[in-house]
């Protein structure tokens, strides 16, 4: 079973890298990009066969290591 974790800075936390990308897009002539948020995607291969159990496990992994919940939020998808 595969899982995909998407980690993003929480709303309200200034994403300075996203802002730099937004500026660069403007410089390249792409008008109308009002905002850019940059995050990371983590894919996991899991031995677990039960989707609900896998999701609970991956959420625990996010809380403990994969995301810093002080500044980041995460989304777990079981694929």
């Amino acid at each position: 079973m595969k899982a995909r974790v998407t980690v993003m800075l929480k709303n309200g936390v200034l994403d300075v890298q996203g802002e730099a990308v937004r500026h660069a897009l403007g410089t390249l002539g792409f008008a109308g990009v009002d905002g850019v948020r940059q995050g990371k995607v983590i894919e996991l291969d899991l031995a677990e066969r039960d989707a609900a159990k896998a999701e609970a496990d991956v959420k625990a992994m996010c809380d403990k290591l994969l995301a810093n919940t002080v500044i980041e939020s995460y989304r777990v998808e079981i694929l």
Binding site: V13, L14, V16, Q17, A20, K64, L65, L66, N68, V70, I71
Partner: protein, 222 residues
Amino acid sequence: MKAAVITFPGSNCDRDLATAFDQAGFQVTRIWHKDTDLPHGVDVVGVPGGFSFGDYLRCGAIAAQSPIAPAIKAHAAAGGFVLGICNGFQVLTEMGLLPGALMRNAGLKFACKQVTLRVETTDSAYTAEYGRGQDIQIPIAHHDGNYTIDAEGLARLQGEDRIAFTYEQNPNGSMADIAGVLSANRRVLGMMPHPERACEPVHGGTDGAGMFRSLMGGMALA
């Protein structure tokens, strides 16, 4: 007084920190991250600067889960002193020993220069030798020193006089110009600037040595 300095793969200020403790009169033991115990009777644990685990995932995140981490947390929980500098500060926030988080510098550039810090509180063993409001010259060298905390947490730090140092000229976008913060019991200090790199005349300045001397004196009283 006994100090233990932790080394992770990618630490690069561990020897400097050990030397700073040694010159202030501490008996220093170097500890590898795969160890699970601190030396008996250790007074202060130093978590050094560097790029532990290549800054993979997030700065300090993987080091914060290393085998030595439970011993450091237990030492802090028992009222022991813990000093985290630069990457060490990032590790301590990731361990949950200090509030907030260190994000990418607002200017996106790695900042490596001498800065002026203001000593915001002398109510800690680390800063007792300085004067409140004193300016000290200490180098910084970091890419992720932009201290961030929610409004409630910031108010608590300010209300409890737990901001140890601020930048005179903010180099990284840090909230409230924060360069270093203390734990609620004032025994855990995390700071981005490098006092261990300002301890001897050959370093270009000695303003950092006061912190290690202060700690030595403060712990003798504690």
